[in-house]
């Protein structure tokens, strides 16, 4: 799928992978998470090689990772509460009271109080995304991977999730890696960008890419933000 792709996502920043459908954004995130093994090449996460590593190394790396999937990937036989409690119960020796504390805290952070007893099937799309984000964060990862966190959401929810991601990055120094084709939010929050085109990548800061001469990059970015509006959106993101 990729040929000669090389990219760095810096610790403590928000990086966004841009690209059209089928350009390999999700694949790239799955490669980072070790869900897909690459045919060749090297992937280093938090200083450890994950391409062709052993199962135990992968386990160690994954403890530093939280992943928010496009469709939420919540277990649909469990309530929201149990979905969030699952990684704590499975991986950490915590008392039920501590688990309840952490879950309530995390649900508050994403604004989902009162949904504990509901099943994922009873939630709206936006609520599922927020619950998925809460689950990705519950074990306090160092690196957060988000696959299309904004797709299919209303502008208010987009703002809300975006605010959460920025806050996590600024206040906790969490490294955030987002795959998205949502241009406005990307330009507002991204520190670094990777644009996927035909298996190659063009990386740089949002300003670099906006100034890029490549016809296809321009076309892609213009679609989301008319040329006049782009600088102000950028300014808001960096403020």
């Amino acid at each position: 799928m990729f040929r000669g792709l090389s990219a760095d996502f810096e610790r403590g920043t928000i990086s966004v992978i841009l690209g059209g459908s089928g350009s390999g954004k999700s694949t790239l995130l799955r490669l980072v998470g070790g869900l897909i093994r690459p045919g060749a090449g090297s992937i280093r996460v938090a200083g450890e090689e994950v391409a062709g590593c052993s199962a135990s190394t992968l386990q160690r790396v994954r403890r530093k990772l939280g992943m928010m999937f496009q469709g939420g990937a919540l277990l649909d036989s469990l309530s929201v509460y149990d979905n969030l409690a699952l990684p704590l119960r499975e991986r950490e020796r915590l008392s039920e009271a501590d688990v309840a504390d952490r879950v309530r805290q995390q649900l508050c952070a994403v604004g989902l109080e009162g949904t504990e007893k509901l099943l994922p099937g009873q939630l709206s799309g936006g609520m599922i995304k927020r619950a998925a984000l809460a689950r990705a964060l519950i074990a306090s990862p160092e690196i957060l991977l988000c696959d299309e966190p904004f797709s299919g959401l209303d502008p208010v929810t987009v703002r809300r999730i975006e605010g959460l991601l920025v806050d996590l990055n600024r206040s906790r120094g969490m490294t955030v890696l987002v795959a998205s084709h949502h241009i406005q939010s990307t330009l507002r929050m991204a520190d670094g960008l990777l644009m996927l085109l035909d298996g190659r990548g063009i990386s740089g800061t949002p300003a670099d890419l906006l100034a890029c001469e490549d016809e296809r990059v321009r076309e892609f970015l213009d679609e989301g933000s008319p040329p006049g509006a782009a600088p102000s959106a950028l300014a808001g993101g960096l403020a």
Binding site: R30, G33, L35, Q59, R62, R63, L65, G66, M67, F69, Q70, G71, G72, A73, L74, L75, D76, S77, L86, P87, E90, R91, R135, A139
Partner: protein
């Protein structure tokens, strides 16, 4: 032309052999998950509910119907030789040795095995298993193991209930409708069926069939393609493969252990 055919045959054989290897590896993983803590009693109870309680009605009704047919057919054949007092033996032996475990296996495959495969396959399609992997939770241990264990536990119980309902059905057809003496029916049944020869073999078969269905259903679901076509393929695949495997292994169990 000939070489082409040989090449294709070779490739197909390799695919089949590799598939067996993958099932064996998955089965070992499943076994390891059974002994590895935690035991997950809560999830196993849930799965026993899905497999056992929800299959109970069709298993009992089918058992009674099969028993009634056996009673009717057996009576019509035996009466020609004036041996209708052996009706209990005919009904009991056929049910205990063959029909109980085999038909229960096929019914449960269709009722619960397919649902099991479909559930896991749709979890694959909606990235739920990948979600578990990212949280360092083994999906085989959390999702597949309780289902397979529940299948192996519920199958002998369901097969025994099927057999009891069948014996009762044979009693209805033979004794209540056709007028065979009730005492004769049961004494012929009791003297023909033996625990060590027949009943224990019946339970052994049911446990093995439960393991087969549990393994194939979870394997098919687990390895399905993450699409809706993958979900339906894993469901039909489970029913076809598990049913044929039950029938073939029934022959081998009968031939090897004489039950």
């Amino acid at each position: 032309m000939i070489f082409d055919g040989i090449r294709r045959l070779g490739r197909r054989s390799l695919v089949v052999v590799a598939e067996h290897g993958r099932i064996a590896r998955f089965g070992t993983g499943l076994l390891r998950a059974v002994v590895a803590p935690p035991a997950r009693p809560g999830r196993i109870v849930q799965e026993v509910f899905d497999v056992g309680v929800l299959s109970l009605v069709i298993v009992c009704i089918s058992g009674a119907a099969v028993g009634m047919v056996l009673g009717l057919q057996g009576y019509n054949t035996l009466i020609r030789f004036g041996a209708e007092e052996s009706l209990g033996a005919v009904v009991g032996l056929s049910l205990v040795r063959e029909l109980g475990p085999v038909l229960t296996g096929l019914l449960v495959t269709g009722r619960a095995g397919s649902a099991m495969a479909a559930e896991i396959a749709s979890m694959v399609a909606t990235e739920q298993l990948d979600g578990l992997r990212m949280m360092s939770i083994d999906p085989v241990h959390l999702v597949a193991m309780p289902k397979a264990v529940a299948m192996a536990l519920a199958m002998p119980l369901l097969a025994a209930l099927f057999t009891v309902c069948g014996i009762f059905g044979g009693w209805v057809a033979g004794v209540r409708i056709l007028g065979v003496d009730a005492g004769t029916y049961f004494s012929s049944l009791e003297s023909a069926v033996d625990f060590s020869d027949d009943v224990s073999g019946s339970l052994l078969k049911a446990v093995i069939f439960g393991m087969i269905v549990g393994l194939i259903a979870t394997y098919r679901g687990y390895t399905s393609a993450p699409t809706s076509a993958g979900v339906s393929a894993s469901t039909t695949g489970t029913v076809v493969v598990a049913s044929v495997t039950i029938l073939i292994s029934d022959y081998f169990i009968t031939a090897l252990w004489g039950v």
